[in-house]
């Protein structure tokens, strides 16, 4: 059963692939000594205005439309987008769509040099502008992870930039906190006055 607060938080953090209710995940398979980069499904899909049973936005694969008809060249500003792409919110500095997407092949990216880049290589793309974050990411000090700290005993799954940041509005979304405070009772309440330091 899911508490409303949890659902609200999941909605608020909808972009983050990791933001699922915590469960006791079995340890990942046999160790390979590797870090595995999480590949979020949203790379090749857009949000529809419908929600799934848990209230999360349903996403529609790009292929649903684009396998049937040709993709138009990408406009430079999101306001010029039509149909499905119309509601796209964009708050990412002064960038144009074509700063990252290839104008004639919107399902692939390109580096600053113009060299094409598959969607799955977002980390390389983001790293061009976000050096300090990329440095921290490589060191294991930016971005969430699951699995093993000790790679000799199991794998570690790392988030990818877009697991948590919507590339079009990258500032991390807010949330409603989970674990709401409990009413104090005579015995057994953890955190009331003490928690606030008025011991």
């Amino acid at each position: 059963m899911m508490r409303p607060a949890l659902v609200a938080a999941m909605l608020a953090l909808g972009g983050c692939g990791k933001d699922q209710p915590v469960s006791f995940q079995p340890p990942p398979g046999a160790p390979t000594g590797k870090e595995i980069l999480h590949q979020p499904a949203k790379l090749t899909s857009v949000e529809s205005d419908q929600k799934d049973a848990l209230g999360r936005p349903l996403r529609v694969s790009c292929e649903s439309c684009h396998s049937l008809r040709e993709t138009k060249p990408m406009p430079s500003r999101p306001e010029e987008l039509k149909e499905f792409h119309q509601g796209l919110r964009f708050r990412h500095g002064e960038l144009a769509c074509t700063s990252c997407h290839q104008a004639r092949e919107p399902r692939t990216l390109h580096l600053a040099t113009g060299e094409p880049l598959p969607m799955t290589e977002v980390v390389t793309l983001c790293a061009q502008c976000h050096g300090p974050q990329y440095r921290d990411f490589k060191a294991g000090a930016h971005g969430g992870m699951t699995g093993y700290w000790d790679l000799s005993r199991g794998d570690r799954m790392r988030n990818n930039c877009v697991s948590c940041h919507d590339p079009h509005t990258p500032k991390y979304a807010g949330a409603h906190p989970v674990m709401p405070p409990r009413n104090p009772s005579a015995h057994g309440e953890p955190d009331t006055k003490e928690a606030q330091g008025h011991e």
């Binding site: 915590v22 699951t146 405070p181 009772s185 953890p190």
Partner: protein, 301 residues
């Protein structure tokens, strides 16, 4: 404990002169006093003195007891500290949004009482520009991050110079080789001295027998960590040692949706925790007290 004779040594002496049945009878009020502890558990040797066989029997007994009291089959292990491993934790305060997902994960992972919503992690809402813990608010309930605030999650810092360990009159709490400060819940007498001594409010007292529906019990348990605690004892964060001693990341780190948390082995130069200590400006809380925490904080700027 040289000049203090432990209560168990005393009781054992008494047992030898009384005879087993009479002794058990005589002990009954004591088990009442110590709530959930059976006579066997009360008479158990100190954890550090248990042989492998004895420990095996204790673990088996605890598993059976959990089944009886909570209706759930669980696995309780006593993983020892690993050679060459010394744990530390760091938290990036520029990234934390105060969502308390870490506290919730702790609540579930460590089999906390559902009714009280306990957790070893308190997330304090702090005024930007201030580091005054006493004015942090742990009971906020509005969308986060709030304007002008930042969030400071606090849990046990596994202090190298731990005041909680020093004040325990029966040595029921101590520091292990990998840096984790543990509590033997079967040995703790519930005097709460340690709770009072901890400057970080990182210890909790079990006022009542924890209530957890069987299907919500995390069956992956450790003797010194997340097994369901008896009533009347003190407990605390152990960096999830039943997980971390098996090489896994702590539950709070895995649950953090922003990646604010960094964990690792201080003795491994390639560990992310070493990178943070070497490349970020880290600080500890209440440094002036000389507790020497293993939990570090940093900001990006």
């Amino acid at each position: 404990m040289s000049d203090i004779v432990s209560r168990r040594t005393m009781m054992k002496g008494a047992g030898a002169t009384l005879g087993a049945a009479a002794f058990a009878h005589a002990m009954a009020p004591l088990t009442e006093w110590s709530k959930d502890l059976s006579v066997d558990e009360f008479l158990q040797k100190h954890y550090k003195e248990l042989t492998r066989d004895e420990l095996g029997r204790v673990l088996l007994h605890l598993k059976e007891e959990t089944k009886r009291k909570y209706g759930r089959d669980v696995d309780i292990q006593a993983l020892p500290p690993q050679e060459g491993v010394s744990f530390a934790y760091a938290l990036n305060l520029s990234i934390c949004i105060g969502c308390r997902k870490c506290a919730e994960a702790c609540h579930q992972e460590n089999n906390h009482d559902r009714r009280t919503g306990n957790s070893y992690i308190r997330v304090l809402e702090m005024q930007q520009g201030s580091l005054d813990l006493e004015h942090g608010n742990a009971n906020y309930d509005h969308p986060v991050p709030a304007e002008g605030k930042y969030y400071l999650p606090v849990q046990c810092h596994q202090c190298d110079n731990a005041p909680c360990v020093k004040v325990c009159p029966v040595q029921a709490t101590w520091k292990e080789q990998d840096g984790i400060v543990v509590v033997d819940y079967n040995w703790c007498i519930g005097c709460r001295y340690c709770e009072a001594a901890c400057p970080y409010h990182a210890r909790r007292f079990n006022w009542a027998k924890p209530e957890i529906p069987p299907e919500e019990i995390n069956p992956d348990q450790g003797y010194l960590s997340n097994r369901i605690r008896p009533q009347g004892v003190v407990e605390k964060c152990t960096f999830c040692l039943h997980r971390t001693r098996a090489g896994r990341l702590p539950a709070c780190l895995e649950a953090c949706p922003t990646g604010a948390r960094v964990f690792g082995n201080l003795l491994d130069p390639k560990s992310p925790i070493r990178w943070v200590l070497e490349n970020k400006r880290v600080f500890v809380l209440k440094e002036e007290l000389g507790t020497r925490p293993r939990f570090f904080y940093f900001f990006d700027k």
